[in-house]
């Protein structure tokens, strides 16, 4: 019963994510595409919750759905007016892209189904340890350089796989600062807009 509920929840979220993603890919109106993408990203957050990655699901909802999408919608409102909402490409280009993407999808599906261990449920000896553990503090500790879930094992101090992500964390922090400054520098108005583009 629990397995059936899990499968039904997965089918719901996976169907939403894939359906909205296909709607984004095939959509013609750029504003509607942005809102389809919100649906798809929200459904992906549901998939994260289902996989036990609770913190990541929350981050997905907060940063992606709440932050990045608002940013994209603002960019949409600032750049795309009138005829640019429904720009189209030619039929042959569309067909070429469809054929290439179909081949890519076939390759990826074949790869996903080709490894035996990925199509079997995990070994029953490990289902006992597969309980939902709150991983937020472990993630935070790993970001500052301590792998709490591996210290408890048989590893000696400084062993491979025991180091956290402190350096990557620092690099990402500096990167975000540089991106903020760069975005503010790039987006500043260089010359006044032509008068016809101003709202009357």
């Amino acid at each position: 019963m629990q397995i059936l509920g899990e499968a039904l929840t997965f089918l719901l979220f996976a169907g939403l994510a894939c359906g909205f993603a296909i709607a984004v890919a095939l959509g013609r109106n750029i504003v509607r595409m942005a809102f389809y993408l919100v649906g798809s990203l929200g459904a992906v957050a549901g998939l994260y919750f289902l996989a036990g990655a609770i913190f990541l699901g929350v981050v997905q909802l907060l940063i992606y759905v709440g932050g990045t999408m608002v940013l994209l919608v603002f960019g949409l409102m600032l750049t795309s007016g009138g005829p640019q909402i429904t720009l189209r490409i030619s039929r042959t280009q569309w067909l070429t892209a469809a054929i290439g993407c179909g081949l890519l999808l076939g390759l990826l599906v074949w790869a996903a189904l080709s490894v035996n261990q990925w199509t079997q449920p995990i070994a029953s000896t490990q289902t006992g340890s597969a309980q939902l553990v709150p991983e937020t503090s472990r993630l935070g500790l790993a970001l500052v350089g301590v792998r709490a879930e591996q210290v408890a094992g048989e590893h000696s101090a400084g062993a491979a796989g025991l180091m956290g992500y402190l350096l990557a964390f620092e690099i990402v922090s500096i990167h975000l600062l540089a991106v903020l400054i760069g975005a503010a520098y790039l987006a500043r108005p260089r010359r006044p807009l032509p008068p016809e583009s101003e709202p009357s």
């Binding site: 499968a7 039904l8 997965f10 996976a14 994510a17 894939c18 993603a21 296909i22 984004v24 890919a25 750029i30 942005a34 993408l37 798809s40 992906v44 998939l47 996989a51 990655a53 990541l56 981050v59 997905q60 940063i63 992606y64 990045t68 940013l71 994209l72 960019g75 949409l76 750049t79 909402i85 720009l87 189209r88 490409i89 993407c101 999808l105 490894v115 261990q117 990925w118 199509t119 079997q120 449920p121 995990i122 490990q126 340890s129 597969a130 991983e135 790993a142 792998r147 992500y165 990167h175 975000l176 991106v179 760069g182 975005a183 790039l186 987006a187 108005p189 260089r190 010359r191 807009l193």
Partner: protein
């Protein structure tokens, strides 16, 4: 073959990730609006993230080949942060481009053509 109503496997998540990835690639290839291309990039990054989460989930992949443990979620967090940074800088470029050309059509950005 993956049964749809059995217990969940890594392959289920990989298939969803594959569909999102391909939809994103198709979106990037066929949209002419700058923002449309950006939407495709977000879809591609999400498809990759789903794979990372699936391989890092103790409920789906424990003991299997390529089990990532907590590393999967950590990498996914870095991907999300970098995606946010990329969206911010790409939107700044798009705004700049729109200010210079008064259009959002990527096909008209061809001044650097040799």
């Amino acid at each position: 073959m993956v049964g749809l109503l059995g217990s969940l496997h890594v392959s289920h998540y990989l298939l969803v990730g594959a569909v999102l990835f391909v939809c994103g690639v198709f979106c990037m290839a066929t949209k002419r609006n700058v923002i449309g291309v950006l939407l495709g990039i977000e879809l591609v990054l999400n498809g990759a993230n789903i794979n990372l989460v699936a391989f890092g989930s103790p409920m789906l992949a424990a003991g299997a080949d390529g089990f990532l443990g907590l590393d999967g979620q950590l990498m996914a967090i870095f991907v999300i942060v970098l995606a946010a940074a990329e969206a911010a800088i790409a939107l700044a470029i798009a705004l700049n481009y729109y200010n210079l050309h008064a259009t959002a059509d990527v096909d008209q950005a061809d001044e650097l053509k040799g």
